[in-house]
Structures are given as C-alpha cells and as structure tokens.
C-alpha cells in the first residue's frame, strides 16, 4: 500500500550537504504541518466521544451547571471543627489561592487556609459571590449504576448478542454457499443473475416493506425475532459480492486437483475454499455482527410492543425519549451502547479495513 513519492525518483543525484539539510528541514516542517492538521481534524471528529464520556462520569448537578470544569469534578470543601466550608479561588497580592469561605460578608469576607485552618482567618476585600469555586477531580459511577437498572441493560445485552450471533450464523451459512455457486460453476445466464444480485443494493426497502410487514403480522411473527433472523438465511448482495470476489482469487487448479481425487462440491468448498478464504469469511462475520448490533429499524417495527425482546439500539432510543432531560444518564447509556462494537473493532480492525476495500473498490 506504500506509495512511492515523486521526489524519491527524480532527485537521485547527491546534493550538497547544506542543500540536503535544508530539504530535510523542509520535509520535517511539512510533516509537522500535515500531521498537525490531521490531529486537529481527528480531535474534532472524536470530540463527541470525549464529551459524552466525561459527562457520563459527572453528577447531574455538574452537568446542569454552566462554567464547571470539563472533567468530572466536585466543588472542593474544607471540613473544620465538624463544619463544611466551600473552597474558592481567591486572588491575593501574590497570586490566586484556594481558600475556604469562613464568614460571608457583603464587602469583605473571611477565609481559612485549608493547609493551616487553625490559623486566624484571612480577611479579603471584595464580593465573595464574584469568586470561582475550586474543583477537584471526582468521577462518579452512579450514572452507570442507574442506567444499568433503568435500561435493564443485562437483558438488552443478552437480546443484542443473541440476535447478532444467530443472524451472523445465517449470513455466513447462506452467503458462503451462494458466493461459492457464483464463483465456481459454469451456469448459463450466471452473469445475468449476478447483475440482479447487485441491483438489489439500489432497491429502497420501502418498496417491499408494507407487504412483508403485513405478511409477518398474518404469520404471527411480529413480536418475535423471526422477521429479523429468517431473511439472513437467504443471502444478501453485499456479502455475496465480497465473498465471491475473494473466492475468485483462489486458483481454480486446486479445485480441479481435489476433483481428480473424487471430491464433491461440498468437499471442495470445505477443504479448498474455506481454508483459504477465512479472512474474507471473518470479515463478513464481523461486518454483519456489528451491523446487527447497530440495527434499529427492523427491531423497532417488529418488536415495538415487546421491550423485553428488543436489542440495545432500540432500548437506547426509548431510554432517550424518556430521560432526554437527564443528559448524564442518556450519555452513560450511549457509552454503554457503543462500547462493545468499538472494542470488537479495535481487536479486528485489520479484517474491517480489508473488507471495506474489497466491497468498495472492485465495483
């Protein structure tokens, strides 16, 4: 994937030493500029993650209040002789000091030094209300605990994982067989069939939705997982395409050798194709797993009256419509929804990248 640069090929003859240094310096500064731009862009791109992560560890009070620190924090206090005093940032002649407000006054107030509270109070001239509070880092896990129960998180997780695993089995089973059929057999009109497969990518779901939904109602499948699982056992265009492209790269001679040894089509699939195509098969599996994890519309329409069967994406949307005015809770819920796909991605990103490139570029 490395791209040779134009400079490397053209300027091959040795340069004078100062010129070489000058070029190196120029390259380093260009490197710095480009990398800096990308870092800024990436920071902006990922900033919502930072925002919701920090908010999810904050107390409701801190989220609601303006001018509080970006990190989860609580106001610092000093407990002296059994009484709690709030700590403020007080500007004194030698800089800002964090002092505990001991006696409030309109024009002057008395402060204690937390390091030495027994010392006589310090008198400060000015309105204490104009002072900023002093904060200390204090993340709370209480939002996560609340959301865990309010969202019925263990059940949503169970549903999501079960749906994702079952539909991934369907996807792997059906698409492998269909892609094998397209990649390895001479069938008159195969090209026509394959064109139809690809054309279904452009088909809006709405044009099949109404009769399909009605059909499931009549079958009594609405309110069950069946409408979400059964179709996955009949293959889909993206995965057929990805697997077929990969199967085509496996040399045909290997099939033929196996065939000479008397292997049937299933045996060839098992002993020749699958052992070589596993990166593509894993890619399809992970793609679908994450897709199922994120799926919203199907579970919404088929499970809307059965919250106990819903996966997490639907649960989160429902939770947000109820607790929309409690951002610390909804944002903890958001983190709890996205954490699993992100972790899966971090461990399997190589397969993801390969899969995206196969489906996207070779068309």
């Amino acid at each position: 994937m490395q791209v040779k640069t134009a400079n490397e090929t053209i300027t091959a003859q040795p340069l004078a030493v100062p010129a070489r240094w000058a070029r190196r310096l120029r390259d380093a500064s260009k490197s710095f500029t480009v990398t800096f731009i990308i870092v800024v862009l990436l920071a902006a791109f990922l900033s919502p993650l930072l925002r919701i992560t920090t908010n999810s560890f904050k107390t409701a009070d801190q989220v609601a209040e303006l001018g509080t620190p970006l990190y989860p924090a609580k106001p610092r206090t000093l407990t002296y002789n059994g009484v709690e005093y709030d700590i403020y940032k007080v500007p004194l002649a030698d800089g800002i000091h964090e002092l505990a407000l001991y006696k409030k006054g309109r024009a002057t107030s008395e402060f204690l030094d937390p390091a030495n509270p027994s010392a006589p109070p310090l008198v400060w001239e000015g309105a204490w209300r104009s002072l900023d509070r002093a904060w200390e880092f204090a993340p709370t896990l209480s939002n996560y605990q609340k959301v865990w129960e309010l969202l019925d998180y263990p059940r949503l997780m169970f549903n999501t994982i079960a749906l994702a695993i079952l539909s991934t089995i369907g996807v792997l089973f059906s698409n492998t067989l269909v892609a094998y059929g397209f990649a390895r057999f001479r069938i008159p009109g195969k090209q026509f069939l394959f064109t139809i497969v690809i054309a279904t990518i452009f088909l809006p779901e709405a044009v099949t939705l109404i009769p399909t939904y009605t059909f499931y109602v009549k079958l009594g499948w609405v309110g069950t997982w069946l409408p979400l699982l059964v179709p996955t056992f009949f293959a889909n265009a993206y995965d057929i395409f990805l697997l077929r492209q990969f199967f085509l790269t496996i040399p045909r001679e290997m099939d033929e050798a196996a065939m000479m040894d008397g292997a049937g089509p299933f045996q060839i699939l098992r002993s020749v194709i699958l052992p070589q195509a596993w990166p593509a098969i894993i890619a399809v599996g992970i793609f679908h797993f994450v897709y199922a994890w994120n799926d919203y519309f199907g579970p919404l329409i088929y499970l809307s009256t059965h919250p106990e069967l819903q996966p997490i994406a639907v649960g989160l949307a429902r939770f947000n419509s109820i607790y929309g005015n409690k951002p610390e809770l909804t944002q903890a819920g958001t983190i709890m929804t996205l954490i699993v796909p992100v972790i899966i991605f971090i461990f399997t990103q190589k397969f993801f990248m390969q899969g995206v490139v196969i489906t996207g570029v070779e068309k």
Binding site: V3, T5, T9, I10, V34, T35, I37, I38, L41, F45, P48, R51, I52, N55, S174, L177, Y180, G181, F185, I187, P188, G189, K190, F192, L193, I196, V197, I201, F202, P204, A206, V207, T208, I210, P211, T212, T214, P231, F233, F234, A235, N294, Y296, F297, A313, L316, A317, S321, P327, Q331, T334, L338, V342, F345, Q349, F352, M353, V356, G360, V361
Partner: protein, 313 residues
C-alpha cells in the same frame, strides 16, 4: 451475453456441463428463493396494493381504485413538503458526503503524514458506533446552550449562535453533522482509490508544471471518478431513503415545524401511524421509481465522465 433467456439454455446442456450448471444453480438457489420471497413478491404486492383500498383493518370491502392513490399525492401538500425537505437535505448532504471523505483521504494519503495506519483506523472507528448512539453524542455537542460548538462560537465572538436542531434552517447542517461518524467507510474506499493512482501520472503533471489545483482537476479527480461514481450512486439511493435519524431524534414529529418530515418518514407514518396501507404502497412505488430514474441516469451518464483505467475512451 447478459440476458434472462440464457438461463433456459441449461436444459440444452448434457452430461458434465449440465451437472455442473445444476449443482451451481442449487447453491445459488438459496439466494433465488430469498429474492422471490423477500423482494419480487413484496414488490409486486406493493404495486397491487397501490391500486387498491387495502388496509390492515379493512373496514370497507376490498376493491380496485385505479390511480386514486397516485392522484391523492398530487394534492397532498404534506407529501410535497416532505419531498422538498428531502431535496433540500440532499443538496447539502450529497456534496459534503462526496467531498469530505475525499478530502480526508487525500490528507491521509499525503506522503508527509506520519502514523498513517493509526489515523486511518481512527477515522474509520466511529463507523462501527450505532447511529442511534452517534445521534446522541453529536446532539450533545450541538446543544444550543451547553454544547461545545456554540460555546466555541461564542468564545470566538459570534453574537447569536445558531439554534441547530431547533432551527428550521440550521437543522439541515445539524443532520449532516449528526451523520459525520458514517464517513469512515467512504474515507477508506477513497483512500484505496487514491493509492491506486499510478505515480507516473503525478510525475508527469509535475514535469508539465501543473500546480496543486491543476493536478487535482486533471489527475486526481478523473482517476477517482469510479469511486466518485460509486459514492454518488449509493449516496443518492441513501439520501432519498433518509429518515431514521429524524425518526429517532423527533419520534417522527418532523420538528422543528415539519423541517425534518422527510419523504420516507412521511411514508413510514402513512403506513405505521395512520395505517393507510394502499397510500403508503403508492408512495413506496413513487420512491422506487424516482431512485430508479436517478440510478439509470447516472449509469447512462457515467460513460461521459467516469474513467476506468485500462479502458479506451
């Protein structure tokens, strides 16, 4: 040849060739069965529904009503508003959806960039985050009072920062922002496309004294035209069906003031909320025909502007 009738020549095959074709067809039949059950039959049924007065409850006797459902659309001002909303959003989201991933990919492909692999993975990563979670994450940033975007704008001295999702005009850029985490896949595809451009072309451009713009216009964009074409087709197919984000965001109310009542959302409500099956079916077919028309037009036009390497034009 690429034709339907060719399928029937299977019956003329004999011996091994026939066995191979039938075995292959048996594997493919898994998809064929699914295609007939889940695509062809429902499509035809949708078309049939659209000419009838069918309903889930069916209080009136089922009958053929001709083009009545299609005529209803002509005088349905809400539907026309929904079409306008979809077009407005498309005019904003499509160019951004094409240019932004290409721009990020060009930066990621810059030869001076360090830690390329890391950045590539990080720009893709949010793609795996459920869009429902993405909506709430970006929505938190767009909050008019507490959000970082408006706080940043105020810090820069902007007097009246936009109300974003609460404002009938700013809601469209807001929706684009809510979908930003979806660009990861397009970035990777664009990046792979850029890496496939032969370096000789850039060398030649340099020798000819081409500047950055001239190189972009005469080398990068023509060589990237297959990727742009692919993104454009999928973008148009996607943008006409866009409705899940507004559905989650406003529970399908179209807030603010109908500005997020997209065509597909209106269709969804016609069926699921108002239980009007036949009218929904007619809308679905119109949607299908509009998308088909755009797709056919793009494929037809592609011979004039999409450049496939190794092909003579």
């Amino acid at each position: 040849m690429n034709s339907f009738t060719e399928l029937f020549s299977i019956f003329r095959l004999r011996g091994n060739a026939r066995r191979e074709a039938l075995t292959g067809l048996a594997f493919i039949s898994i998809w064929i069965v699914g295609f007939v059950i889940f695509t062809v039959t429902p499509m035809i049924a949708t078309l049939g529904f659209s000419f009838s007065n069918i309903n889930l409850a069916q209080e009136q006797p089922l009958k053929f009503v001709g083009l009545q459902n299609y005529q209803a659309m002509v005088s349905d001002s809400q539907l026309q508003n929904a079409l306008g909303v979809t077009l407005k959003y498309a005019l904003l989201a499509l160019p951004i959806g094409l240019a932004l991933p290409l721009g990020v990919a060009m930066l990621l492909n810059n030869k001076y960039l360090r830690a390329k692999g890391f950045f590539r993975v990080m720009f893709y990563m949010p793609y795996v985050i459920p869009f429902v979670a993405g909506i709430f994450a970006w929505g938190s940033l767009l909050n008019p009072e507490q959000g970082w975007i408006n706080q940043g704008l105020e810090a820069l001295g902007v007097q009246n920062p936009p109300g974003w999702l609460n404002d009938p005009t700013w809601v469209y850029p807001s929706l684009v922002i809510l979908g930003l985490w979806g660009i990861g896949s397009a970035v990777i595809i664009n990046l792979a496309g850029l890496q496939g451009i032969p370096t000789e072309l850039y060398d030649a451009a340099k020798v000819d004294g081409a500047g950055w713009w001239a190189t972009l216009w005469n080398v990068t964009l023509p060589m990237m035209s297959p990727v742009i074409f692919y993104s454009l087709v999928l973008g148009i197919v996607g943008v006409f069906q866009y409705f899940l984000v507004p559905l989650v965001l406003t529970q399908g109310t179209g807030r603010p003031g109908g500005a997020t009542m997209f065509f597909n959302l209106y269709l969804y409500k016609t069926f699921f909320t108002f239980q009007n099956m036949s009218y929904g079916a007619a809308q679905a077919w119109v949607l299908f025909l509009v998308i088909l028309a755009f797709t056919v037009f793009l494929f037809w036009s592609s011979k004039y502007w999409v450049h496939y390497a190794g092909e003579n034009r």
